[in-house]
């Protein structure tokens, strides 16, 4: 596992116990889906001491961002700056001729190239991955090293799932850290890559 000795690509996602990362009908103007804001109450503590603040601080200290195109667009392209001006690497099926994303953002159609350049850009800092699409693409390409799941004690019942049914075979994980914050259990898993 020398790979994880270097800075990891780590997925950050809030998820309900029933596996949703947004409420239903997530779209422009309702980015978190209907009532999906329930999953982000823990972020009220983001500037406070304690586990929620610690996890948010770690997220903000990442050296690059990988996002799916859908998340990127829903977020208004973060106006080109997710945090601290670090590069934003956006996975997309079609980059679109002449569509130049703002600020530090750049489109990629190749997952491995995206991951490789994000790692290089982040240097010794972790890379933050965000969005269900990016998570699936990185997992399937064997490029996701860690998952930091903010597990929220609620059943949403309906919404956008983090994990879609996929014929990928088992992916083994290892729980390497657990932090209990207010309204979120932060579970950090390491992906045990196939040899």
């Amino acid at each position: 596992m020398t790979e994880s000795m270097t800075a990891p690509i780590r997925l950050y996602m809030s998820m309900s116990l029933d596996g949703f990362i947004a409420g239903p009908d997530d779209r422009e103007g309702q980015e978190l889906g209907r009532d999906g804001g329930r999953l982000f109450n823990w972020l009220d503590d983001r500037m406070s001491p304690g586990p929620n603040g610690q996890v948010f601080g770690e997220l903000m200290a990442t050296g690059a961002v990988i996002s799916g195109r859908r998340t990127f667009e829903l977020a208004g392209r973060w106006d080109g700056d997710h945090h601290g001006g670090v590069p934003i690497h956006v996975l997309t099926h079609h980059a679109g001729e002449g569509d130049v994303p703002p600020g530090s953002a750049k489109f990629y159609t190749d997952v491995v190239a995206c991951a490789t350049e994000a790692r290089a850009a982040a240097g010794d800092r972790a890379v933050m991955a965000h969005g269900a699409g990016a998570a699936q693409a990185l997992l399937q390409a064997g490029q996701l090293d860690e998952l930091e799941i903010h597990l929220v004690p609620v059943l949403l019942g309906i919404g956008r799932p983090l994990f879609e049914t996929k014929d990928t075979g088992h992916i083994e994980l290892q729980l390497i850290r657990r932090l209990q914050g207010r309204d979120a259990t932060h579970l950090r898993y390491r992906v045990r890559h196939h040899a």
């Binding site: 116990l17 998952l147 799941i149 059943l155 949403l156 019942g157 996929k166 579970l187």
Partner: protein, 196 residues
Amino acid sequence: MSRVILYMAMSLDGFITGPGDDKENPAGVGGMRLMEWLGGGGPEVADWRPGDPQSQIVFDELMSTGAVVTGRRTGDFAGYWGGDHHGGVPIFVPAHTAPADNRYERVHFVTEGIESCVAQAKAAAGDRDVLLHGAYTAQQCLKAGVLDVLEIQLMPVLLGQGRLLFEGLPADHIELDLVRTLEAPKVLHLRYEVRR
């Protein structure tokens, strides 16, 4: 006061079996991965007791429940555990129609709905809790507001496909309170109370 407690092992991506679960292979393809928090297994209940002390707490609680509610599918697949899940406690099965040939004295098919099924199980359990098992029945209990506690054995694996624990629930949020976390080498035990 008897409570209804769901005990289910679930992958991080929400599955409780692998794909293609049927009578010959109740856990589905590769689904036995989810049972690895238990002991090695064998003819005796004690053979399934986990080796680590945290998981033993959960297992011993499960085995001290005073009645079982299980779905028809889960029960059929398991052959109703030969009529005895543990300790000879009664087993209640919500069903649309009772089978003509119920071979098991302690297995009761309840056709009056999930509320009645749970009420009968609670009455039978007395002071002890009721063990609930099976995804569909858990969903029915959640919808009917008769599920008190979820004891989830969260397994560190992504199965990718299989049978989901939570499916077809109403869009109204069901709020939970995390009341206990037990971390074992192979599993994370999360105990949630359903808020009403």
